[in-house]
C-alpha cells in the first residue's frame, strides 16, 4: 500500500514539474517581453528608454538565460517567494495576491460543492429508486439538459430572469462575503456545474448496489426501506462519488473562471484572466502552479481515500 502511494506521489510530482516547465517555456518563448509590453501599451510607463527597460528586466530577473530563470523560479517557489507582479498590481508579491484571491474562490467552490453534492446525491438516489419510471427519466433528462448548457449562457440568462423580469435581486457585482445576497447567484451557478457529475455517478452506483445480495437479505429480514438505503446502500454509493473529486475540481475551476469574470468577483478565476490579458509572467505561473496543484492533490487524495472507503481495493 505504502509503495503504491509513494509511486503515485512520484508520478504526480514528476507530472507537476513537467507541466510547470512547459508552462514556463511557453511563457518565456511565446508570450512576449512583458517589460516591452508595458511601454507599447503605455499604461504603466511612458518612456522608450532602453536603459530603463534593461534595469527593469534585471530587477525582475528577466535578463537571465531560460534555464537559469526557470531554476531560480523553482528555487524561490519552494522558499515561499513567488515573485512580484509585473503589471497587474505592480510590485505586489504574487503570494500575497494569491492569498487574497484564492480564499474567495475557495469559499464559492466549497459552498457550491456542498450544495451540489447534497442535492446531487439526493437526486441520484431518488432517480435510481424510480429506475426507468417517469421520475427517473425526468431527472436524467433534466440533468443532461443542465449539463449541456455552458455556464456563460446560464449565468447571463439567470441574470435576465431574476434581475430584469422577476426583479427579485439587484445586479450582483463584486465580492461582499459569502453570506451576502450577491454570493447567492454565483454559488448557485457553480453548483449547477458540478451537479450532473454527482447525480450520474450516484445513480449508476445506486443501480449496481440495489441488485446486491446483502440488500435482498436486508429486505428479507424486514428492514424498513429507508434504513436499507441509509445503512446498506449509501456507503458503497458514496465511494465512487468520491473518485470524481478531480472532475469536480475541474468543474469548479472552469466555473470560477466564467462566473468571476461575468460578476467581477476578485477571485482566482478573475486573476487568471487578468494575468493572461496583461501578460504578467509571475501571475500566470502562479495560476498554473495553483491550478495544477489543486487537481493533482485532489487526485492523490482520491488515491488515499479510496482504499479506506472500499476494503476490496486495499486487498489488491
Amino acid at each position: 500500500m505504502a509503495t503504491f502511494l509513494l509511486l503515485r506521489l512520484l508520478r504526480w510530482s514528476v507530472g507537476l514539474l513537467l507541466i510547470l516547465f512547459i508552462t514556463y517555456a511557453m511563457m518565456y518563448y511565446g508570450a512576449g517581453d512583458p517589460i516591452r509590453m508595458m511601454f507599447i501599451q503605455g499604461e504603466d510607463f511612458d518612456t522608450e528608454d532602453e536603459v530603463v527597460m534593461l534595469a527593469l528586466r534585471k530587477k525582475y530577473g528577466l535578463d537571465e538565460p531560460f534555464l537559469v530563470q526557470f531554476g531560480n523560479y523553482m528555487n524561490n517557489l519552494f522558499q515561499g517567494d513567488w515573485g512580484r507582479s509585473i503589471r497587474l498590481e505592480v510590485d505586489r508579491p504574487v503570494l500575497d495576491i494569491v492569498r487574497f484571491r484564492l480564499p474567495i474562490s475557495m469559499q464559492l467552490g466549497f459552498a457550491a460543492t456542498l450544495i451540489g453534492a447534497v442535492s446531487g446525491i439526493a437526486l441520484g438516489v431518488w432517480s435510481a429508486l424510480y429506475h426507468n419510471r417517469l421520475l427517473d427519466r425526468l431527472i436524467v433528462s433534466s440533468v443532461l439538459f443542465i449539463n449541456g448548457i455552458p455556464i456563460f449562457v446560464t449565468l447571463p440568462m439567470l441574470q435576465l430572469l431574476l434581475v430584469l423580469q422577476l426583479k427579485l435581486i439587484d445586479v450582483p457585482y463584486g465580492w461582499n462575503g459569502l453570506f451576502h445576497i450577491d454570493a447567492a447567484l454565483p454559488v448557485a451557478v457553480i453548483s449547477i456545474g458540478v451537479l450532473p457529475i454527482i447525480v450520474r455517478q450516484t445513480r449508476s452506483a445506486m443501480l449496481e448496489v440495489q441488485s446486491q445480495q446483502y440488500v435482498t437479505t436486508a429486505r428479507a429480514k424486514g428492514v424498513p426501506e429507508n434504513a436499507i438505503i441509509l445503512r446498506h446502500m449509501l456507503r458503497p454509493v458514496l465511494t465512487p462519488v468520491v473518485t470524481t473529486l478531480g472532475l469536480i475540481m475541474i468543474g469548479l475551476i472552469n466555473g470560477s473562471l466564467f462566473v468571476e469574470y461575468i460578476l467581477n468577483i476578485p477571485g482566482f478565476g478573475l486573476l487568471t484572466i487578468e494575468g493572461i490579458k496583461k501578460v504578467d509572467y509571475p501571475i500566470i505561473m502562479a495560476v498554473a502552479v495553483v491550478g495544477t496543484l489543486i487537481i493533482f492533490v485532489s487526485n492523490f487524495m482520491v488515491d488515499i481515500i479510496y482504499p479506506i472507503l472500499d476494503p476490496r481495493v486495499r486487498a489488491q
Partner: protein, 327 residues
C-alpha cells in the same frame, strides 16, 4: 475494399449479397431503430443537422454583410429589415449569427478531425505496442486529462499567437509574399490546435481500450493464425468494431469544441473581432443587457439550444450503438 485473404474471399462468395450484407445492415438497422425510439435524441439530431446546413449555406444567403456597420441604425429591435435587429455598431445581428454558425462549425470540424487523427494514431500504437511505450503515452494523456482544460487552452492561445505572427513577419520579409501579411485565420488555427491538444487524450484512451479488448477476440486470433498482417487486422477487424464508441466520442467532441470556442471567445481569448463568433457576440451583448437584452439573448439561446442538442444526440447514439449497456 480489396480482399487480400483467400479465406475471407471464399466466405464473401458464399455469403454473397444476402447474408453478409444482411447481417451488416441489421447491426446498423438495430442501432437506428433504437435511436429513433429516443425522441429527444432525434430532435437533437435534427437541430445539429440544421446547424451544420446553416454553417455551410447560411453565410451565402445572409441578407447583409456581417461586417457592414451603420451607426445610425444601432440598437434596433427585430424588424422587417433586420430580422433579429442590429447591434451596438448597427451591424445586422442575423447575418452575424449566420457567420458565427460557420465559425462554430469550422472549429467543431477541425478540432475533432485533428484530435481524432492524433487519438487514433496514439491509441492504436499504444494498444499494439504495450509495455513501456503504452505506459509513457498513457501517462502523458493522463497528465493532459488531469489538467483543467480551459486553463491549458487559454495558456496555449495566448502564448502561441506572438511567435506565429513573428514567424510570418519574418517569412514576409524574406519572400515579400502578401499571403504572410494576412493573419485573420490565425485565431482559428490557434483555437483548433489548442482544443485538439486537450481533446486527443480522451479519444486515444478510448481507441486503446477498444484495441486491447478486440485483440482478445477469437476472430482476431483466427485472422492472425492464417497469417493476416497487423495492419490488415487493424483495418478489417479492430477499426470497424470500434466504430460505435468512436461515433459517440466524436459527437461529444464536436459539441465540446463548440462550447469551448464560444467560451474562449466570450473571455476575449478565442476568435477576435471582426470575425464573428457566438461567444464574442454574447460578450458584446452583455454590455447592454439591461437596456437591450435581445443582443445577449439571441446568441445565448442559440448556444444553449445547440449544446443541449449535442448532448441529447450523444446520449441517444450511446444507447443505440452500445447494446451491452441496455441489457
Amino acid at each position: 475494399m480489396s480482399e487480400s485473404l483467400p479465406g475471407s474471399k471464399i466466405s464473401r462468395v458464399v455469403d454473397d449479397g444476402s447474408i453478409q450484407s444482411g447481417e451488416q445492415r441489421s447491426l446498423w438497422q438495430d442501432a437506428s431503430r433504437r435511436f429513433r425510439k429516443n425522441r429527444l435524441a432525434v430532435c437533437g439530431l435534427l437541430v445539429v443537422l440544421f446547424f451544420l446546413v446553416t454553417a455551410v449555406f447560411g453565410p451565402h444567403v445572409s441578407p447583409y454583410d456581417f461586417l457592414e456597420q451603420n451607426i445610425a441604425r444601432a440598437f434596433q429591435g427585430p424588424s422587417e429589415e433586420h430580422f433579429l435587429g442590429t447591434d451596438d455598431l448597427g451591424r445586422d445581428v442575423f447575418s452575424r449569427m449566420l457567420h458565427g454558425a460557420r465559425t462554430a462549425a469550422l472549429v467543431a470540424f477541425f478540432t475533432t478531425a485533428i484530435s481524432l487523427l492524433i487519438g487514433v494514431l496514439v491509441g492504436t500504437w499504444s494498444g499494439i505496442r504495450g509495455g513501456r511505450t503504452d505506459e509513457f503515452l498513457m501517462w502523458i494523456s493522463d497528465l493532459i486529462q488531469a489538467m483543467p482544460g480551459l486553463l491549458l487552452v487559454i495558456l496555449i492561445n495566448t502564448t502561441l499567437r506572438r511567435p506565429i505572427i513573428n514567424a510570418f513577419d519574418d517569412l514576409y520579409m524574406q519572400t515579400r509574399d502578401p499571403f504572410f501579411l494576412n493573419t485573420l485565420w490565425l485565431d482559428y488555427v490557434l483555437v483548433f490546435s489548442a482544443l485538439a491538444l486537450i481533446g486527443w487524450p480522451g479519444l486515444a484512451r478510448l481507441v486503446r481500450g477498444q484495441v486491447l479488448s478486440i485483440n482478445e477476440e477469437d476472430y482476431v486470433l483466427a485472422a492472425r493464425a492464417i497469417g493476416a498482417s497487423e495492419v490488415h487486422i487493424m483495418l478489417r477487424h479492430v477499426i470497424p468494431n470500434a466504430l460505435g464508441p468512436l461515433v459517440v466520442a466524436v459527437t461529444a467532441s464536436m459539441g465540446g469544441a463548440v462550447t469551448l470556442e464560444a467560451g474562449l471567445s466570450f473571455l476575449g481569448i478565442g476568435i477576435q473581432p471582426p470575425n464573428a463568433s457566438w461567444g464574442s457576440m454574447l460578450e458584446e451583448g452583455r454590455r447592454y443587457w439591461q437596456i437591450f437584452p435581445h443582443l445577449m439573448l439571441i446568441p445565448a439561446v442559440t448556444i444553449g439550444v445547440i449544446q443541449v442538442s449535442f448532448v441529447f444526440l450523444g446520449d441517444g447514439l450511446n444507447d443505440a450503438l452500445d447494446p451491452r449497456r441496455n441489457t
